[in-house]
């Protein structure tokens, strides 16, 4: 089993974020939320006829580290009452450099063995522009702390395409980042979501994004530079030292099923993509209610397998695709992707379909060719 749990509280709201987030993580509010969450988990996992061992758990948010370690422990033990943890289970907690509700070592003792830390940038002015509350120095201190506390699998998020970011500041951020005690980097282009504060600021002309050309250069520079520093790109936005790929994320790209629990969480179980209530009050009133239940037709499953599978550097195994989705790949897809194969944007070699590195920045264009 693969499990995602959404813990929605944050200290403040970042201007670019449009995920479901609540401020003020008081004890009462946390307890009310955990009660609902436990009710949901017990309802669904209790109902499931067979629970295979838990392979990954991802505690995302929000800022899950605003929940003290004992509260996280209570969640994990509830899960464990339904299914055993696999011996190599990957249990990730998202945290921010400004700190955690408990000591890092306390979290480590709950069984959490991987941290994903929202660093975003190592430039003071960029952090300010993103309305992040931490400083550069906090990042260094925090990472030292968590490493000392025993975390041997640490990931950081970095962002490019930040307003007024330049190639120079990006290079500086990267060269500092590789000094940090980390195994994994998630590297995202800043996307301006509708109705966020950032969206408004940009439309009012009070902030300006870097040119598309420049952000692509930033991406390409980072991929090359980080490879030299031992971080291999294994998925469009993710790099790691060998053996530290995020198994939880790879599970998404492999189009496998997973549970999603908590407010606004998404899951994929029994061919149904579902979504929970999108606001806290609705969720807590009825935690088992799913506001969206979409049955994926065989065609959609096939499309998803291709669209998401191609994000992986390893690509998509044609043999496996044909077996899993009963499709004749050549017959159904070759004609429409021939132009990309001819121009070298896609490769079909050794039984794998892969995106060429130069195709990554324009992958949407190519991936949409697989949709009917």
């Amino acid at each position: 089993m693969f499990i995602y749990i959404h813990l929605p509280f944050c200290l403040s709201h970042c201007i670019y974020c449009d995920f479901y987030v609540e401020l003020k993580a008081t004890e009462d509010r946390r307890q009310a939320y955990l009660n609902a969450l436990k009710q949901e988990i017990a309802h669904y996992l209790g109902q499931a006829t067979h629970c295979s061992p838990i392979r990954t758990i991802y505690l995302g948010g929000g800022t899950p580290a605003l929940f003290p370690a004992e509260e996280i422990a209570s969640l994990l033990s509830l899960l464990q009452s339904f299914a055993p943890f696999a011996p190599d289970a990957e249990i990730t907690l998202e945290a921010n450099p400004e700190g955690m509700a408990s000591l890092p070592s306390d979290y480590r003792q709950t069984g959490v063995n991987r941290l994903s830390i929202g660093v975003q940038s190592l430039q003071p002015n960029e952090l300010k522009r993103l309305s992040r509350v931490h400083s550069r120095d906090q990042v260094f201190r925090f990472l030292d702390q968590v490493r000392t506390a025993g975390f041997q699998n640490i990931s950081i998020d970095l962002m490019y395409g930040i307003p007024e970011q330049t190639m120079e500041t990006w290079q500086d951020t990267l060269s500092q980042a590789v000094q940090l005690p980390i195994e994994h980097i998630s590297m995202y282009g800043l996307k301006v979501e509708e109705d966020t504060a950032l969206d408004t600021l940009i439309r009012q002309g009070r902030m300006a994004l870097p040119m598309d050309e420049d952000t692509v250069d930033m991406y390409e520079f980072a991929v090359n530079y980080l490879a030299q520093q031992g971080f291999q790109l294994y998925e469009i936005s993710n790099l790691s030292k060998p053996g530290f790929e995020s198994r939880h994320n790879l599970n998404y790209w492999d189009n496998n099923e997973f549970w999603g629990f908590g407010v606004s969480a998404h899951g994929y179980i029994n061919q149904v993509r579902y979504e929970n209530a999108r606001n806290l009050q609705h969720y807590q009133t009825n935690p088992i209610l799913r506001v969206e239940n979409h049955f994926c037709t065989p065609q959609e499953q096939l499309e998803n397998a291709l669209i998401f599978g191609l994000r992986k550097r390893a690509g998509v195994s044609i043999v496996e695709l044909e077996r899993r989705y009963s499709v004749d790949f050549e017959k159904q897809y070759l004609p429409r992707i021939q132009r990309y194969l001819d121009t070298g944007y896609l490769h079909l070699e050794d039984g794998f379909l892969k995106l060429d590195p130069k195709a990554i920045p324009v992958s949407n264009d190519i991936l949409s060719a697989f949709m009917d």
Partner: protein, 599 residues
């Protein structure tokens, strides 16, 4: 009591001078239609017509009217008001004995009015001038009456002052129709001769012709023959329009009506003569012409799978409007489509819009073209309407292109800019006449291919909409024409080729490549755009390669966002045509129409 006397008349007016409103008022005043039933402009019953405020398909309405204790039948034959349809106008004029000439009290006589009024005079029609819109603050009926006398040469002393909008002058108009327009001659004993002035297609009854009985009688159940098409039919239904179809048993000389006879054959019926198959007339009525398309373009489905749908839709449209022609054509760039012929530019636009709206097709329309006469060295002459078909320069002796005579009526303030416009379109000045102290009739000869781009739009925009124009076909003339090819990413795109005059090739090439650069979105690779004559490149520009889509995070397994994004991407692509490896938006194929401001 004797049978009612008949008056057959039509309305001649410039677009917007109030023809449709007046027709509505006449229907109301004669109680042919109640006010409750009255939608605005009953006679224009296509949505498109009502939206554009113009009449495309003419129809007829029969009104019963009592005047000074005597009963009359008034047949109003609606005429299209646009230059593209002048043959139809001539046929409907031939079905009448009189015409109301509507002139806007504020605008005065316009080019189109002139052209049609001369047509009416040639048909010996009694013309009743009506000065409309006298309620407008800017109305100057005396000046307009003077203009009618000066310019057209009609006696305007008895012109009727009217406001169709306000209902002023309607009774006077009806009285004048009865008193001044002569009744038709009622030769009921001669063999049947009825002239078709319009037709439309009904899904159940087949083609329904509208006609005026000129001589003899026609009855329900008669076997009739269409003389030009030489086909016979059984009349299953006969009727008049009041203005809705109303069945009747017999129509005699002088009357106007329709018939149904399960006519399914394609053909051009307007102007044809209906006679009785058993007792035929010796000769048809004069004046029948086949419709001659003047403007051509390629119509292609955006999605190749829609080819059959497009074909069916064109066939259906042709039943309604037999002046459209179409032939299958293949383009390397666009795949399978049709080369379609239209009476003029407006006609072409209307048909495109109807195909997209009524038949729900996504179309690519290539730039309009005309028919060139290409004389080969072998002595052979080819008629070419698709630039891609033009033989190599080495095989050509010379090319002739169609010429039109254009007449423009404009306030004199705009004469300068209009002369510039005509000069830039290779116009030859013919004459300039003052209609009064402020208005001018400018006459030019112009190659039709210069007209079919956006001459009319330019005329309107340069004169703030005040100028009006009309044109007549005036033959072919030898000209130094070349084929300008457009290459995308090194490959010539046949559907983008245009035929231009040698001297303008460089400018057209340069502006067209610049325009295409704006229209064609960035692709995954750089796309050079070149304009060339043969192997000689005249202009070149580049669409830079697209660098980036979005590399967003996929949060907590929410893949629906990503899917939505890709679906949007896909939908955007659907509006484009893959030409080789380049995705080209539909409007690129019409880009040549948008060059004028720069030329």
């Amino acid at each position: 009591m004797s049978s009612p006397e008949i008056r057959n008349f039509c309305i001649i007016a410039h677009i917007d001078h109030g023809k449709s409103t007046l027709a509505d008022r006449l229907l109301e005043a004669t109680k042919t239609i109640s006010q409750r039933e009255m939608k605005d402009q009953v006679l224009d019953n296509m949505d498109l017509e009502r939206e554009r405020g113009i009449t495309i398909k003419l129809q007829a309405a029969r009104m019963d009217y009592e005047y000074k204790g005597k009963k009359y039948i008034l047949n109003l034959i609606d005429t299209p008001g646009h230059v593209d349809f002048s043959y139809e106008v001539s046929r409907s004029l031939a079905a009448c004995e009189g015409a109301l000439l509507i002139v806007d009290a504020a605008q005065g006589v316009e080019a189109q009015t002139l052209a049609n009024v001369y047509l009416a005079i040639n048909h010996n029609l009694e013309i009743i001038p009506v000065i409309n819109k006298i309620d407008l603050p800017s109305a100057d009926p005396d000046k307009v009456a003077h203009e009618i006398e000066e310019v057209i040469g009609l006696d305007a002393s008895e012109a009727i002052l009217c406001s169709a909008k306000e209902g002023i002058g309607i009774q006077e108009i009806l009285a004048a129709v009865v008193e001044r327009i002569p009744p038709p001659t009622l030769d009921v004993n001669k063999p049947l001769k009825a002239m078709i002035f319009d037709s439309y297609f009904d899904a159940y009854q087949g083609i329904i012709p509208y006609f005026r009985v000129m001589e003899g009688q026609i009855r329900k159940g008669d076997k009739v023959r269409f003389m030009a098409n030489n086909k016979t039919y059984d009349v299953t239904e006969l009727g008049v329009m009041k203005p809705y179809k109303t069945s009747i048993d017999v129509l005699s000389a002088g009357e106007v009506g329709y018939l149904a006879a399960s006519i399914k054959d394609m053909g051009y019926y307007v102007g044809d003569t209906i006679t009785n198959a058993a007792k035929p007339a010796d000769e048809p009525l004069p004046g029948y012409q086949k419709a001659i398309p003047m403007v051509f373009c390629g119509l292609y489905p955006v999605n190749n799978e829609d080819y059959e749908d497009l074909k069916e839709s064109l066939e259906k449209l042709q039943l309604n409007d037999s002046s459209i022609t179409f032939e299958p054509e293949t383009s390397e760039a666009l795949g399978f489509g049709f080369r379609c012929g239209f009476l003029g530019l407006l006609h072409m636009e209307i048909i495109q819009e109807r195909l997209e709206r009524e038949y729900n097709l996504d179309l690519i329309v290539t730039a309009p073209s005309v028919v060139y006469h290409v004389f080969k060295k072998s002595g052979e002459m080819l008629e070419i309407s698709n630039p891609a078909d033009l033989p190599d320069a080495a095989d050509r002796e010379y090319i002739e292109e169609p010429i039109v005579k254009v007449s423009i009526i404009t306030p004199n303030d705009f004469v300068g800019t209009l002369m510039d416009l005509a000069q830039s379109r290779r116009g030859t000045f013919l004459a300039m006449d003052y209609l009064d102290t402020t208005r001018v009739n400018l006459q030019y000869e112009l190659p039709l291919n210069e007209m079919v781009t956006d001459f009319y739009d330019q005329l309107k925009s340069r004169t703030k909409g005040y100028a009006s124009m009309d044109y007549q076909y005036s033959g072919y003339r030898r000209s130094k024409l070349v084929k300008l090819d457009i290459l995308l990413a090194g490959d010539p795109v046949d559907a983008l080729s245009v035929i231009v005059h040698e001297e303008k090739a460089y400018y057209v090439g340069r502006t067209l490549t610049e325009k295409l650069k704006e229209i064609i979105p960035r692709q995954m690779f750089e796309v050079p755009i070149q304009a060339a004559i043969g192997s000689k490149v005249l202009a070149r520009t580049n669409v830079k390669a697209m660098r980036k889509n979005v590399l967003e995070k996929c949060y907590g397994g929410d893949i629906s966002r990503k899917r939505k994004l890709l679906e949007k991407q896909k939908a955007g692509k659907k509006r484009m045509k893959a030409v080789g490896k380049v995705d080209v938006p539909q409007e690129a194929f019409m880009a040549v129409l948008k060059l004028s401001s720069e030329i």
